[in-house]
Amino acid sequence: MTPIHYVRCLRGIIWREALRFLNQRGRFLAALVRPLVWLLIFATGFRFVLGVSIIPPYQTYIPYQVYIAPGLIGMILMFQGMQSSLSMVWDRETGSMRTLLVSPLPRWYLLTSKLIAAVIVSVLQAYVFLFIAYFWGVHPPRLGYLTVLPALILAGMMLSGLGLFLSSVIRQLENFAGVMNFVIFPMFFASSALYPLWTVKQANLKLYYLCMANPFTHAVELIRFALYEKFNLEAFAVVAGSLVVFMTLAILGYDPGRGLIARRAGTE
């Protein structure tokens, strides 16, 4: 296997993801409905309930929908990451994961390729969301649309990495509902996606620490700052670190030597 084989393999995996995406445009749009409901309805209703003071990276008072836009982008990335993990579980059940794992390139490479392909789709969704949000008063600086791209990619990879890891642990599709309840919702609500953390800090210090320990908070902050042409080092460090941890766990989970696959197989 030479480098050109690796390139062809990555291209093939991305190409497949793109085809699936084109064949399931309905799903792509449906995935946008969720954050748009939050933006168009929830944010409007809460507009005057939550007072948002001036906090970085913003330089003026901002309407609530502007505040939650980065959080909703985070939501898109998280759902997409989980969805791709759902498709991995599904793949494993239908056996197409087997065809991937029996191909000759190293397993870490196959999984990383799969992750990259999933992130490309979710970044596209994030941009479609930003486009629609523009008409609802979310006007980041023009350059922000460009500076947010690396943040979207990194945050997307981290959240998909989490999904990939979960897919190596979850045995069956039915357990995925559990992931929704025990992973997605707690991560989303215990974060800075819907409210600035200083409000949480005033209300409950323990919850505040929990929010600060939540990698999703940092994914949202990374996106929020990047969208306003600013770089948040702390958020970057946490997101990058979490990516490494989740990816390592995922690769271990799928490792043929010590993997959970091997231990689990006996019960099948």
Binding site: I13, W15, L100, R263, T267
Partner: protein, 263 residues
């Protein structure tokens, strides 16, 4: 790399490169899940062009054996060598020479037949133009050329299997594993697969290992491995296995060997 080749050559015959080593050599393979021992000291070999039926009841250890040969997980004792490459040490080299048809349906139903095959070719690092030539050839051999552009979802169960065999051969492996490929198929589709694999072995020198629990599928022209409770009870050409068991048919031989009634 060279050292491995030399070692492979030793096992394959004097001075032969890896490609001339036997397609599959399994030696002293044992595997257990916790307390339960799924395979006990399993050894066998497939030579070029061998068509070997791996016959065993459900739970005999066939799936475990296939999982180990396809490296879903690693074996801890014994060895598995594909054309001389030990799968645990050189997985890429070994897997590149192996074609697999899984028991589960593994086509992506959202994609067309051609797209499924292109995806597989890409996983094996084949350039697109070469893949196009090869997949046309393979799909023609299973008689589905006119379905190439159609969604896999529109194919019948038997046709999907045929596509899966074509797919398993796109990267031109000389060793083909089939894990109960006829499950759920009608009689005609089943016969097509049996005939097709026989032709692959006779005409192209492919070695095939076909796992089944159906004694009917074991014909006198094949070799057979009888696997029972993780152990190999008999191995060899079908007529020889029948004779050694003092039986008149494969069915009788199987019953005598295992002390249980097969299907």
């Amino acid at each position: 790399m060279l050292a491995v080749k030399a070692e492979a050559a030793e096992q394959g015959g004097a001075g032969a490169p890896a490609e001339e080593a036997p397609p599959l050599v399994v030696e002293g393979l044992s595997h257990s899940f916790g307390e339960r021992q799924a395979l006990r000291n399993v050894s066998f070999r497939l030579n070029r062009g061998d068509r070997t039926m791996l016959l065993g009841l459900n739970g005999a250890g066939k799936t475990t054996l296939f999982s180990l040969i396809t490296r879903l997980y690693n074996h801890r004792s014994g060895s598995i060598r594909i054309f001389g490459w030990e799968i645990k040490d050189k997985p890429s080299e070994a897997l590149a020479r192996l074609g697999v048809v899984f028991q589960l349906a593994t086509l992506d139903l959202e994609l067309s037949v051609a797209q499924n095959l292109f995806y597989h070719a890409a996983l094996h690092g084949l350039p697109r133009r070469e893949a196009a030539v090869r997949l046309k050839r393979e799909i023609e051999r299973v008689g589905l050329t006119d379905r190439l552009r159609e969604h896999a979802r529109t194919l019948s169960g038997g046709q999907r299997r045929r596509v899966e065999i074509a797919r398993a051969l796109v990267h031109q492996p000389k060793l083909l594993l089939l894990d109960e490929p006829t499950v759920g198929l009608d009689v005609a589709s089943r016969q097509f697969l049996l005939d097709h694999v026989r032709r692959l072995c006779d005409e192209r020198g492919i070695a095939a290992l076909w796992a089944t629990h159906l004694i009917d599928e074991v014909d006198p022209g094949a070799r057979v491995i009888v696997l029972h409770q993780g152990r190999i009870l008999a191995e060899g050409p079908v007529p020889e296995v029948i004779r050694r068991a003092n039986a008149s048919s494969m069915r009788e031989a199987f019953d005598k060997l295992t002390g249980e009634r097969g299907e």
